[in-house]
Symmetry: C2
Subunit: 436 residues, 2 copies
């Protein structure tokens, strides 16, 4: 039973949609967000898509008294967009850039330019080491034909790795962000199963806000309803996740609320996403010593299936990257061949000491420029796809190792404790070994 008074921790998460000159009413919305955070005084505010440092500095100034501790994570060409504002002292920060994140030539999607990452801050709250993570995964532009799915799966894989391996010393783990994944999407299952993080929407004793906890709602005036189809009401892709850590402090989610597409007395909402506010209740357990724990995941037959499913997706991405690399290599060879032919054509009159050209000059130079540009671009794309191939191969290797490890553990468990396990888990443990 509890022995000391509970500590209430209020956590806020919002994708601010802060693309200067492109996002509507950007500066007015930042004023509203700053005002909200100042008034509400959450312990931790985890923000995404704060793309401009000027906007971050505006928020920093606005929240100088309410949230004196802050960190802005810099990454990629235009930044990671991730920012943390805290009422409590930030002891340390660490950033992990996802190794795969879309394509630079898909400039209109823009994800590649914002170096998508997960930022960690270690915050001291009442003597507890709280590891808070803020992240934003690659967007999903077309659910039916999602060419970015392997990228997002690898990002979720790296995210679970990062959270698991860096939260060894934590008393409490909190993750907030725009995961761009529906609750039952592969990457989300991978993340939750591996890390043991709990979804505040599913765990909250009291919920207030949009139906089904959706955070991208049809009523939001900044949303193009067509993009939400076939989900008429909207989708849930923003999350606050949490789990207890090393010390004997239990945590539960007292309440969760979302904004609902409009702000009373204001002409527009805070963002195109809805904001999340969670109240976590920390309670010291009896026997104050540290709880021994390991970073490795507990074996679970379901997890084997999830990792295998992720492996399949990564393989799809790998085949695509290899195919694209082959295509650009062939195009590059064609560019090179054309350049060599041009060179030969140029050499013929020179060798024959003739002033006549075998080819109209304009076409000759235009073709030369074209073949040179082709060669240059394909060389760059070849390098780009080679790094993608390496990254996807690396992720697949790790997943294969994980599956083998999980299967061995499960097999060992089923051999040594077949009866106890069956009783404890309510299902026969031997099913694990038959996973694909």
């Amino acid at each position: 039973m509890a022995t000391t008074p509970a500590v209430k921790l209020r956590v806020f998460s919002l994708n601010c949609w802060g693309i200067r000159y492109l996002s509507q009413h950007c500066s007015q919305r930042y004023e509203m967000i700053g005002q909200l955070l100042k008034e509400e005084g959450h312990d931790l505010a985890l923000l995404q898509e704060v793309w401009s440092e000027k906007d971050y500095l505006f928020l920093k100034k606005t929240l100088a008294h309410s949230h004196p501790y802050t960190h802005y994570f810099k990454s990629g060409v235009i930044g990671s967009g991730l920012a943390v504002f805290s009422k409590h002292k930030i002891l340390d920060t660490f950033l992990y850039r996802y190794s795969i994140n879309g394509y630079p030539y898909m400039a209109h999607h823009g994800d590649w330019f914002g170096g998508k990452a997960v930022g960690m801050v270690i915050v001291d709250i009442c003597g507890l080491a709280v590891h808070a993570y803020v992240t934003h995964l690659h967007a999903e532009y077309c659910r039916e034909k999602d060419s970015y799915l392997p990228h997002r799966v690898v990002q979720a894989w790296e995210l679970q790795h990062f959270v698991r391996h860096t939260s060894g010393c934590a008393d409490l783990v909190i993750l907030g962000g725009d995961l761009n994944m529906h609750p039952r999407d592969l990457g989300n299952r991978l993340l939750l199963s591996y890390t043991g993080l709990r979804d505040s929407y599913a765990e909250a004793e009291k919920f207030e806000g949009c139906e089904d906890g959706i955070t991208l709602i049809a009523e939001n005036p900044f949303i193009n309803k067509k993009e939400l189809e076939p989900f008429e009401n909207g989708i849930r892709i923003d999350y606050i996740l949490f789990k207890q850590g090393l010390s004997r402090v239990s945590v539960k989610c007292e309440s969760l609320s979302t904004t609902t597409g409009s702000v009373p007395g204001k002409p527009f909402p805070y963002s195109d996403h809805e904001a999340l506010s969670a109240v976590l209740l920390l309670q010291s357990e009896e026997g104050g010593g540290p709880r021994p724990q390991r970073c490795s995941a507990e074996p679970d037959p379901g997890l084997v299936d999830i990792v295998n499913e992720a492996r399949t997706e990564v393989k799809v991405g790998l085949h695509h990257a290899e195919r694209m690399r082959g295509t650009v290599a062939r195009m590059g060879m064609m560019g090179l061949a054309l350049l060599l032919v041009e060179l030969a054509i140029a050499l013929v009159p020179w060798l024959a000491h003739s002033t006549e050209h075998a080819f109209p000059r304009a076409s000759f130079y235009l073709l030369g420029a074209l073949s040179f540009t082709t060669l240059l671009l394909t060389a760059l794309l070849y390098i780009f796809y080679s790094t993608q191939v390496k990254t996807l191969q690396g992720a697949e290797d790790q997943m294969r190792l994980a599956v083998t490890g999980l299967q061995e553990k499960l097999q060992k468990r089923s051999q040594t404790q077949p009866v106890e396990q069956g009783r404890a888990q309510g299902e026969p443990a031997s099913t694990s070994a038959n996973s694909p």
Copy 2:
């Protein structure tokens, strides 16, 4: 006092210099390395510069019985070159790619193409979770005018972050690799001071091998002696570092040995670097429970100075990246201006319905191609330098936060325990607050 028998752990580290078609006697040397590892049967072999996957697969096959557990880390365009061979089960792996790593246009240096990284494997040795790290930092090509120094400092900064935050659950931490830093170099001091890792060369009860533990020696036939100047005998840039972790297991280095530039009965050595072999002795301490620990660094006045020194280096790198970005932006504008002028020249006869050209055709098209290529290349370089600026700014932000945190801790300590501290540390703690 110890209660259980000690466990001996033998660790091997070697930069294999495995650039196919460029490194001399590559395949023969891999055969020798494979033979050595098979015969010696180290518990852990941490290899760098295994650039070709074929060579890794050859080693994997050779060591299939002696080292059944292995992992090859894939990253960058041609791979990270990092490989681990283990006699003990590898439970988990994780790779962190350094966010800054040279320049792609310095292709003859090649570092950018090998995605330099730190790989972690979690190995189960006699029930202990051993976190073993293998890494290879950016090379130093000219010590007097080392333009890569800020890159290496940021890599060392990220390395200490990665080790510190991912070793929270470890019973033992081992790091092996080619750090490309001399023992007293800034990055090395940063790494050792922050993580608490101990240098096996300094700690070994018994040492055998090259004088001063050097690993790049003048006698090695693959070494260009001129490159070692002014260090006539050679330099020490390869390390095996270690520290104890969570559990009550103490660790000491019983012995360390290096190869000495030649292999008896063979015409050439294993590599251009010397190999390191350390014997670590693990001993259970009394009271088997876990030792509570935190990931944050202990405040130390010396550490403040080191981080400040690192900040200065990062700022130098930042100014260089910003200057380069400005230069390419100006060049890009010139390319664009030239392209617009060309367009105007092309439009004049067209608008005047004339067939005469105002400019010789050949020069016209060549100039067009030149300005277009300039525009394209400067755009790419602008993107590249922008990511460098963001990364360096991010590292500098983190360092500033670290210095502030350390200074506050030191100030608090000096205020609360001025007398005890002075006695314990043998120097007045108040000096810390005066750090630059």
